[in-house]
Symmetry: C2
């Protein structure tokens, strides 16, 4: 197995791969979306999961960010570091998972980088597009807006696979005033959305996944549902979970009590703090 043999195999399926850069047409009249997401052995997954699942999950994370803007994914790069235990069969499975999600999302694998490391990791980059000036951002929520999620929460321990909410996201164009995906837990991510919008947020009722606790729904990462706001009388899809209020930017209340913005934070982990 050599870099060239891995690239050669991918190239048969993804002809954009193999040059110094991916060269792709620029979509006219659109804004570009660019997103990168890391998946690291021992941090985002363990070897117990199948190679296919690890590949699919790595791609789903980035597609979820594209979904949060209301955009459409177009091209994907995968950078990966092989580990001593990743043999050819494992890599085939990993890419099978990647292609499975990319096919559903009509997205082309266009390149990446290959290196090696003690533990396997990958970085999945998605390039997408959205109508000029229409991308949903975190910063558009206004006091009085209603607050929604696209599906029930508490995913980290209770969901085997991630379904990026691409269609759901596109339906929010012209409806949502702000949107983001929940990757580090509702409490922390809603804090971020409220802070970016200069508002406070009030949570009333949370839809839970089967088997999930309220604490998991508030603080666990990896839900990958969309969190969004819309004007109060606008008809919006999803579950209504609260409202946006005036107040200190970033403050989130649940049943009247202020929630700490605690969730999954990689930089804090490096200072000895544990995943809450």
């Amino acid at each position: 197995m050599t870099e060239d043999s891995i690239i050669g195999k991918l190239r048969r399926r993804s002809p954009l791969i193999g040059d110094d850069c991916a060269v792709i047409p620029s979509p006219a009249g659109q804004d570009l979306l660019l997103k990168a997401d890391l998946s690291i052995e021992g941090v985002h997954f363990t070897r117990e999961r199948s190679a296919e699942e690890i590949g699919a999950r790595a791609v789903a994370r980035s597609l979820s960010d594209i979904a949060a803007t209301g955009g459409t994914p177009l091209y994907c790069l995968v950078s990966m570091a092989l580990a001593p235990w990743t043999d050819e069969q494992w890599i085939d499975g990993f890419y099978r998972g990647i292609y499975k999600l990319l096919r559903k999302a009509k997205t082309s694998l266009a390149g990446g980088d290959i290196s090696h490391s003690g533990r396997f990791f990958c970085d999945v980059i998605i390039c997408g597009s959205v109508a000029k000036g229409r991308a949903l951002l975190r910063s558009g929520a206004r006091a009085g807006d209603a607050l929604y999620v696209s599906g029930p929460l508490g995913g980290w321990r209770n969901k085997r696979s991630i379904t990026p909410r691409l269609e759901f996201g596109r339906k929010l164009l012209g409806v949502a005033t702000a949107c983001m995906d929940i990757s580090d837990g509702l409490a922390l991510d809603l804090h971020r959305l409220s802070k970016a919008s200069g508002v406070s947020a009030q949570l009333d009722h949370l839809p839970l996944l089967k088997g999930a606790t309220l604490d998991q729904a508030l603080h666990d990462g990896e839900d990958y549902e969309l969190l969004f706001t819309a004007p109060p009388r606008m008809k919006a899809p999803g579950f209504r979970i609260g409202s946006i209020t005036k107040g200190k930017p970033g403050t989130v209340r649940y049943s009247g009590k202020v929630l700490e913005p605690i969730g999954y934070d990689h930089a804090k982990r490096m200072q000895g703090r544990q995943h809450s």
Copy 2:
């Protein structure tokens, strides 16, 4: 130090950072260029180098690939995994190196991902553009073309910093028939260019960096000079090092002898083969 504090600091300098995706204008009438390059502690660098140098080098690797297409870099994403030893001061230095190269290349930092790992690594993604259909590829070399490099070789041990050949690359538009950058050693990379073009190559004379041996110039990685071909009577910049011939695709000869396509191969490293 938290993810949000790192992102907050970057955002003051790079306002595109901080949403779920970078949302950027799509360049009209251009092809997009997308490239990702990994830099891993213990593989691409050791901690002995300064944080600034490690950041600059990581960006230079990707910019070099954009240079090889004759393109112009526009936006950059940096995904990184913090290690237990990377404190705030180190990260500041790392980004100082990144910004230094991006400023010279008129390229904006637009996003990325932050995670953690036992060893530090980063993935630098550059999005660039080139006039529609004009990108220089590996596959355009024809028998009879002259073969060039943009500068002297043998860089891995003998060069402290990488200067991406962006201006040089743009001068090759309309001149070069094929182009790539030398990242894994001349012998292996010329094998790749010849194979992609369906031709053989003949090396005559190699310009060496001060202190470099012929073996280093042929087989060491990390030269980051441009390797390109041009019609024989076309005036081209750089050093003429040989010519393109008919023959088995991918065969490279030096002084008449066939060179093994040996260089730096990450997948082979994982099977116990050493860096030649």
